[in-house]
Structure formats: structure tokens, C-alpha cells
């Protein structure tokens, strides 16, 4: 640390000199208000980020009969839809989403897929490329009005327009019917958010069925009809409504679905009914269908069909799962005043993990998410194991992880299962209830949900291995040149996992822990959730509510983190130390002597030190100046000091005698993102303290700032962002005095050199002691 002694006057001058002159060339104002980018507030959406007095949304109720064909892997259905026009606009046509058309051979998804590698392709890759035998996509058999008369309709890729006989006036509703069928995709082979899995060992299937019926596209005040084509990444935006669904499946299948089972007596055995009843008040999962019963069903064949009837209220979608392989467990739970049945459906292949963790993770998720948003409003919460790795629908989600066939499992699989159940059950809140537009903004559901997932994981066990949430895990992505801002459309984002899940989750974690503080953040976040529960918020509504409820101007944060690709790299450039000139000759001359002694001796001076000198040999050559000590305190010095003291007031005397240390710290912003400056101050006496400076320090000059810190004690070390809370990408400029910072590679290598690696321990050949210098295969 550089040390300066300055006179009082000079010191005061340094402070009053304007330090914040704007650099030339008008750098971008990082604190510019967002109003000019955000849409103008209106009667639907207020400037505070709440639904306005004229907020409206449409509603669609569905009455559906569907048959699952377990021989041909086919869905056949017919629906009667009641569509309520609650908008102020007359509608001459309706748009429906036909998501299964993604699997058509001529879909835009297929046509625009980048070429895969043909170097050493696997048989699986070749198989999906060459044997393109899957005949996917909706076959629309009929579109009719309420009386059964055909309605004209036009299919445009993954959308269908139905032309109404007369415009649907505001406040009116229309009833129409659609009949359809489609072939279910092999989700293990072709991918997809739903589909079937075939088990060659026992010849059975698990079906996870979603996006299986023509669904109303959203019509809203921001997009009009939201009918941006489905390409595979941008998920869904849908209308709330009530569902009555009759699912006809083989009579030995167990069916789980969005909604409450209406006819348990007709589809369950007496024993199952009794177990289900018992589960409602149980404190651990109760097996409604046991592993042995599932095993027995696997060996049999259906003798007919059964129809399961489900009703769901105020949901934006409906999905179900069906298989004779399912074990089924259930446990009652209460969220506020809402009784909930948490349930899991999984094959014997899912155990031992599923019985132990799935339903427990559902209940943990409901507890945690309700604390940060609102009570879970639905009576059912289901997790299903099947071919889909992780996908969410209202009240039901599909989760992939399974133990090894031999019944063992790795820690990775265990945590993957717990994490994915938390994540997918968490999606019930975002976007199933806070109904964001996933086709447009993936981050609004995935980012917010990944943030809450991190909180839930951290409350699961100590040091839970969360993949996303910790700022330090986002550093590599944020320094990648050419990555996208978070505010990028869902289908155009290059690295969806980092962009729409990891970065927004990290941003919200930083907002909560570092920028706003937990109390203010939690209050504002709960307000956002409460305002938009069962409604459709847009990004501006989130940005505005978080400010509105907290009185913290966050425009700089939204701008930097969501609209730009700037990253955090703050540098502590230097620290200068000033002390007061007390004018006291005893103090000041002692100090000067110390500095003189501490100054380095030159090489020549050192070598001449012991050489005999002429003046020493011949004292006649010595005079006054050979004896004079300029740093000795003289009576004249003391007299002068008394004079100075006499002119000072008591207050001024105390100030000069206060013995304060003045540190001027200079910072520069290398990464471009403005962030709070978090400092750890270590003192020479071994104590330390933390200093937290809000981001507003950068408001006049976002590239260079300075800060004065006054202390009683002398500093030994200053550290910027000591707890790695700001995603600072370069730690080598975070220390003053500088400290070497090793890369992950160097840290690993250093540690490897001290302990033999597992190969050296395990693979050392008998009779050879020397570890191989070049590693394997060299």
C-alpha cells in the first residue's frame, strides 16, 4: 500500500476538487431510466407493474373424450370447447395450437435443424436420420360448430385458424368441436416433451401425454393472437379454463392426470380406494399401487378398457400419464387452507430412488415456493417417471432420472432426481399460475423458477450441489463474447440453459442477497407473484413491480443484466494512505525518521559503509554540519508548535489529535456491468470489517470511481467481493496489495502434484514404482 503524508490543507483540497468529471466521448449512461424501452403504461398494465383497471384475459373451457391405443400407440380424441371473448375486440376467427405438427416430416423444426456431425455417427444417430418412418402430426377429422355443422378452418404449420360464422362480440362466448388423432412419438428415440417409452424386457409402455389436443392460442393486450409458430424451444402460452376429461385406457393401466379423479369407485379396487383415503392424512407416502401389484400387472394383458374421469378448474393446460407398469404413492399435504394430494407414479425401474424422494420433493417444493409466492391453489401435485427428462404441466410433471438396472445409483442421479422434481413441480407456480408467455420469454418462467429451485435445494440439505444460482458458476458464460442478452426471444437464444435458466437465476439471487437484501426482495417478489397469480405478466410488469414494492431504483440492474451482455469485472486499482500532519515536531520528525530508516539502502552506499572515510581519520575536517541532525527536535520547533496550538480551538485540536487514517481507493469497471462494491478491510492488528457500497457509486462515471475510507486502524489488505457474490469474472484485480490468483487449471495441477492421482494409485503396474510422467496412453 502506498503511503502518503499530506498536510491538513492539502487533504481537504483533494476532497473538494470535483472528482467526477464526465469523461469525454459520452459513455453510455448505465443508470438511464428504462421508461424509454418499456411499453407505455395503460389501462391493462399500470406504471407500477400491476394489472390495470381494464386488465382482461380470455378463457377456454374444454370437455374432452380421449382414447389411448396401447397397440398402435395412438391418441384419438374429440373436444367441445367453450371460448369466452373477454377482450374489448370482436373476433372473426380463432387460432388454435397444433403442437404435434412439430413431428411432421415437413415441419419447420425439421427443415431448419442444423446438420448433425457425420463423423463416426452412432447407430442411434444414423437410425433417426435414415429410418424416418414416424408419421407424426395431428390428423384433424372434423371442426364443427355447436350444432355439428362443419366450420371452415385452415392449418398453418403448428397453428389452425377457425373461421367463425359471425364475429364473436366482446363479452360473448362460442362453442365449437374438434375431432382428431395422432401417432404418439417414441420419446426415447425421437425426443419430445411427451411421448412413450417401450420396455423390451416386459413388452410394456409408459405413456406421458401432453400437447395432445388442439388448444386455444392466447389472445392478449400485448401480442393480439400469440401464434408464433412452435419450433421446439419456446414452450407455450395458454388461456385458463375448466377441464372435464374422460380418458379411456386399457383396463389394467393406472392413469394420473391434471385434475381430480371423479370416478375412483369405477376405476380403482376396494383396496386401492382405501389406501388412497388413508394417504390423505398420512405423514409418509402411502402405496396406492404397490411394487408387487405393478410387477403382476406387467406380466398380464388388458382384457378391455376403463374410462378415468378427471375435472380440473382454472388451469391453463391438461396432461396425463398412463401405464400398467406404474407404482403409485400418495401423501396428503396442506398449503394454507388448500388440502393437496402429493402423488408419484413410477415403474419398478424407478426404485429405490423414487419411493424415497419423489413425493418428499413435491411436498418440500410446495412448502418453499408457497413461502416465496402464494399458497398452492390446486388439490393435486404429481410427479411421473417415464421417458421425458423433465417437463411441466399443471398439477403434473414428468421426470426422468432412474437408478441403474442393478438397483444402485450414483450421487449424480440422486441429486438430478431431487432437483428435477423441485424444478418441475415448481413450474406449477411459474408459468402454470403466473401465466407468462413462454413462446416469447423463456427466462420469465425458467429463470424465475431456477432461482426458486436454488432456494429449495439450499434448504434440502447442507451444501446441496446446485447447478445454478451461485454467482461464481455464471462467470464463464458471462465472459463469452457473442452470447445473447437475456431479453432474447426463446427460439433465438443460443445457449438456452445458461441464458434463460442460469443467468436470470443468478441475477435474481444477486438482487436478493447483494442489491436489495432478503427482506425487501422477498416482499417485492411476493407482491409480483400475488399481483399476477392467474394472470399474464410481461417483462415490464416484473421489472416495475420489483421497484414499486421496494423503493429501490433497479433500472441499472435490469438494463445491465437483462438487456446487455456486459459482465462484472470491477478492479481495485490502488489504495493510497494519508495521515494528518499534526505539526507536533515530536510526532512528525519521529515519523520522518521511520520513513528514512525504512527507505532502501543503495548498493553503492551499502558497499561503502565499512570503507574508512577521510573525515573520520582527520577530525579537523569535521564542522557543524557533520554533527547536525535535521530530524532532531529543537526548542525552536517546540516553540513554533505551541504557537500553532494556541491558535487552534479545542475542537480543532481534538481533530488533529484524532490519529485517523485516510485511505483513497480507486476502482475501475473493466466488465462494463455496474455492481455494488463489496470490500473486506483487513487491519494490521488482525481484525477485519466489511464495507458495502451501493452500485449508485457508479452513477456519474460508470468506468472510474474513487472512495475515501477513514479508519482508526491501519489497513494491511483490501479485498473486493470477498464472498464471491457479484459474479466478478477476474479476481486477479480484486486485491490490494495484489495477490496471485490461480486458475482452476493451476489449482488442480498444484493439488495433483502433492497427491498421487487415482490412476497412479490404482493402475500402477506391479514392480514399477515410478508414476508415468505423461499420463495414460502416452
Amino acid at each position: 500500500m502506498t503511503r502518503y503524508t499530506a498536510s491538513v490543507v492539502a487533504f481537504v483540497l483533494a476532497i473538494v476538487t470535483p472528482a467526477f468529471a464526465q469523461p469525454q466521448g459520452a459513455p453510455p449512461d448505465k443508470f438511464r431510466q428504462l421508461e424509454e424501452i418499456l411499453p407505455t403504461p395503460n389501462e391493462q398494465r399500470t406504471a407500477s407493474g400491476a394489472p390495470g383497471r381494464a386488465y382482461w384475459q380470455q378463457r377456454a373451457d374444454y370437455d374432452i373424450d380421449v382414447t389411448l391405443d396401447d397397440v398402435k400407440q395412438r391418441i384419438t380424441g374429440k373436444e367441445t370447447v367453450t371460448y369466452y371473448n373477454q377482450s374489448p375486440d370482436p373476433l372473426t376467427y380463432l387460432w388454435l395450437q397444433l403442437d404435434q405438427n412439430l413431428f411432421r416430416k415437413d415441419s419447420d423444426t425439421a427443415l431448419t435443424a442444423p446438420a448433425p456431425s457425420l463423423e463416426r455417427p452412432t447407430f442411434e444417430t444414423l437410425d433417426t436420420l435414415v429410418n424416418r418412418d414416424f408419421d407424426g402430426g395431428f390428423q384433424i377429422a372434423a371442426v364443427t360448430d355447436a350444432t355439428g355443422k362443419p366450420l371452415p378452418h385452415t392449418i398453418v404449420k403448428t397453428m389452425m385458424r377457425i373461421d367463425l360464422a359471425a364475429p364473436l362480440a366482446p363479452g360473448k362466448s362460442v362453442v365449437f368441436g374438434v375431432a382428431w388423432s395422432y401417432n404418439i412419438n417414441d420419446a426415447k428415440r425421437l425426443g419430445g416433451r411427451s411421448g412413450y417409452e417401450f420396455f423390451p424386457k416386459d413388452g410394456n409402455y409408459i405413456y406421458e401425454i401432453a400437447q395432445w389436443f388442439p388448444r386455444l392460442a392466447a389472445y392478449n393486450d400485448v401480442s393480439g393472437w400469440q401464434h408464433k409458430q412452435f419450433l421446439g424451444s419456446g414452450e407455450f402460452t395458454l388461456e385458463f379454463g375448466n377441464y372435464k376429461v374422460r380418458i379411456t385406457a386399457p383396463n389394467d393401466h393406472v392413469v394420473g392426470a391434471t385434475g381430480v379423479l371423479q370416478n375412483p369407485q369405477a376405476v380403482l379396487t376396494a383396496a386401492q380406494l382405501q389406501r388412497l383415503e388413508q394417504a390423505k392424512t398420512a405423514s409418509a407416502p402411502v402405496l396406492v399401487v404397490t411394487p408387487a401389484e405393478a410387477k403382476a400387472a406387467e406380466a398380464g394383458k388388458a382384457t378391455g378398457t376403463k374410462t378415468w374421469v378427471f375435472h380440473a378448474e382454472n388451469v391453463r393446460d391438461f396432461a396425463f400419464a398412463s401405464s400398467r407398469k406404474f407404482i403409485w404413492d400418495a401423501q396428503g399435504h396442506r398449503s394454507g387452507t388448500q388440502p393437496v394430494l402429493a402423488m408419484s407414479y413410477y415403474p419398478n425401474e424407478g426404485n429405490p430412488l423414487w419411493a424415497q424422494y419423489s413425493t418428499a420433493a413435491i411436498i418440500h417444493t410446495l412448502n418453499l415456493y408457497s413461502r416465496y409466492s402464494f399458497d398452492y391453489p390446486y388439490p393435486i401435485a404429481i410427479s411421473v417417471n417415464g421417458p421425458v427428462g423433465g417437463m411441466e404441466y399443471p398439477m403434473i410433471c414428468f421426470n426422468g432420472p432412474r437408478p441403474e438396472p442393478d438397483g444402485t445409483y450414483t450421487a449424480r442421479t440422486k441429486y438430478a432426481l431431487i432437483s428435477v422434481v423441485i424444478h418441475e413441480v415448481g413450474h406449477n407456480y411459474f408459468p402454470m399460475i403466473v401465466n407468462t408467455d413462454e413462446r416469447q420469454w423463456t427466462w420469465m418462467d425458467e429463470g424465475i423458477n431456477s432461482f426458486l429451485q436454488f432456494l429449495a435445494e439450499q434448504e434440502w440439505e447442507d451444501n446441496y450441489p446446485s447447478r445454478r444460482g451461485e454467482p461464481k458458476n455464471m462467470v464463464e458464460y458471462m465472459t463469452a463474447p457473442g452470447h445473447d442478452p437475456i431479453m432474447t426471444n426463446s427460439e433465438s437464444v443460443k445457449e438456452l440453459g445458461n441464458n434463460a435458466y442460469g443467468k436470470p437465476a443468478t441475477a435474481l439471487n444477486i438482487l436478493r442477497e447483494t442489491v436489495m437484501g432478503r427482506e425487501l426482495f422477498d416482499f417485492a417478489f411476493r407482491e409480483y407473484s400475488r399481483r399476477w397469480k392467474f394472470k399474464r405478466p410481461m417483462p415490464a410488469d416484473f421489472f416495475r413491480t420489483m421497484e414499486d414494492a421496494s423503493a429501490i431504483d433497479l433500472d441499472w440492474f435490469w438494463h445491465g443484466w437483462f438487456y446487455t451482455t456486459d459482465h462484472t469485472d470491477l478492479s481495485l486499482d490502488d489504495v493510497r494512505h494519508f495521515t494528518l500532519n499534526t505539526k507536533n515536531p515530536e510526532t512528525e520528525k519521529t515519523l520522518q525518521r521511520q520513513q528514512q530508516t525504512a527507505a532502501p539502502t543503495t548498493l553503492s552506499a551499502e558497499r561503502y559503509r565499512d570503507t574508512p572515510k577521510l573525515v573520520e581519520q582527520n577530525p579537523a575536517l569535521a564542522d557543524f554540519y557533520n554533527r547536525f541532525d535535521p530530524l532532531a527536535v529543537t526548542p525552536a520547533d517546540r516553540e513554533e508548535y505551541q504557537k500553532v496550538l494556541g491558535a487552534l480551538t479545542d475542537k480543532e485540536k481534538a481533530l488533529i489529535g484524532s490519529n485517523k487514517n485516510f485511505y483513497v481507493m480507486r476502482f475501475s469497471n473493466v466488465g462494463g456491468l455496474v455492481m455494488p462494491i463489496i470490500l473486506k478491510l483487513d487491519y494490521v492488528d488482525g481484525t477485519s470489517e466489511e464495507l458495502r457500497i451501493p452500485a449508485e457509486i457508479w452513477r456519474r462515471d460508470a468506468s472510474k470511481v474513487s472512495k475515501l475510507v477513514i479508519t482508526d486502524k491501519v489497513l494491511s489488505q483490501v479485498t473486493l467481493d470477498p464472498k464471491l457474490e457479484t459474479a466478478d469474472t477476474d479476481l486477479s484485480n480484486n486485491f490490494f496489495p495484489r495477490k496471485p490468483v490461480m486458475t482452476r487449471f493451476q489449482l488442480f495441477k498444484q493439488q495433483q502434484q502433492t497427491t498421487p492421482n487415482p490412476m497412479q494409485q490404482l493402475e500402477r503396474k506391479p514392480g514399477t514404482d515410478a508414476p508415468r510422467p505423461q499420463g495414460p496412453g502416452q
Partner: protein, 161 residues
């Protein structure tokens, strides 16, 4: 004729697979030129399950982290996938440093000694592109000229440093 057929199949190719909401086929490799040591230090962050799939393909049998032969197989996979060429076109010889497993992620460390400069270098990272059509490999380069990011998809050729 065979070549032309392959092109037609790709044009009508299917692959809507990225549909699984939470599985992303991405790897991140940091290539840092240590000017003091005159070495190229390479750190790869790979999803552990993808790496095990590649090892199984390499060795013809399933192997997991900690089992004998796993590191050797990982090194074989990495050497096949990651190539750094010097200005004269000669590939650098990569030396094994080690690997680390962090639940769902495996960090792989390799290095190339005796690299005084990276001028004129090119590289290619095809790891897992033979297994997953959607695989994207991000490479962050840090050397005397600063930081750069290069991304590789299946079929991509060598790209300049």
C-alpha cells in the same frame, strides 16, 4: 452418389430433440496460454453422463468415474475430439493432467508444454458431436491477444484461435 444421398437425408432430417426441457448438450473448454510456463493449459467442463456415454462408446463397456481405466478412456475421448494445430499445421501433443468429478459435471485437465506463442494456431473441439446432434462446444481462448470465444457444432472444421 453416396455423398449426395447423405445431403438429401440431412435436409429432410428430423431432430426436434432439444425438446427435453432440462437436458442441454453443451460443453465449455477454456484454453489458456500460460506465458510464464510457456504451456497451453486446457480445462474442459463436461456433463458427467455425456462423458460416460462417450467412454462407453470408446471402450465398448460402461465405465464410471473412479473405476480403473476410466481416466485412460477419457483421455482417448479427449484426444480424438480436441485438436490444436500450430501455425505450420502440426497438431500439439496433449499431456494428461487429470480429472475432477463434481456431481453432474466432470472437469478434465490436459496441457501442451513448450508453447512459446499461439500465433497462427487453429483448433477444433468435436467432443460428443458424434453422440448428440444438438451438441454445442464452447471454447474460451485466453492468450496474449486477449479473450475470445469460439463455438463448435457437429461437422465444423478447424477455426482460428
Amino acid at each position: 452418389m453416396r455423398r449426395w444421398l447423405a445431403v438429401v437425408m440431412l435436409l429432410t432430417g428430423l431432430v426436434p430433440v432439444a425438446a427435453d426441457a432440462h437436458k442441454f448438450y453443451v460443453s465449455l473448454t477454456t484454453v489458456e496460454h500460460n506465458t510464464a510456463e510457456q504451456s497451453l493449459e486446457i480445462t474442459m467442463r463436461l456433463f458427467a453422463d455425456d462423458l460416460e456415454a462417450a467412454v462407453a462408446r470408446e471402450t465398448g463397456k460402461p465405465l464410471t468415474h473412479g473405476q480403473p481405466g476410466f481416466e485412460a478412456a477419457v483421455f482417448a475421448v479427449v484426444r480424438r475430439a480436441l485438436t490444436v494445430r500450430q501455425a505450420d499445421g502440426q497438431p500439439l501433443t496433449l499431456a494428461w493432467v487429470g480429472l475432477e468429478n463434481k456431481v453432474d459435471v466432470t472437469w478434465v485437465y490436459v496441457e501442451a508444454p513448450r508453447v512459446p506463442s499461439t500465433t497462427g494456431f487453429t483448433l477444433r473441439d468435436t467432443i460428443f458431436t458424434d453422440l448428440f446432434p444438438e451438441q454445442v462446444n464452447m471454447v474460451h481462448v485466453k492468450d496474449a491477444r486477449g479473450r475470445r470465444a469460439i463455438d463448435f457444432r457437429g461437422g465444423d472444421s478447424f477455426k482460428p484461435f
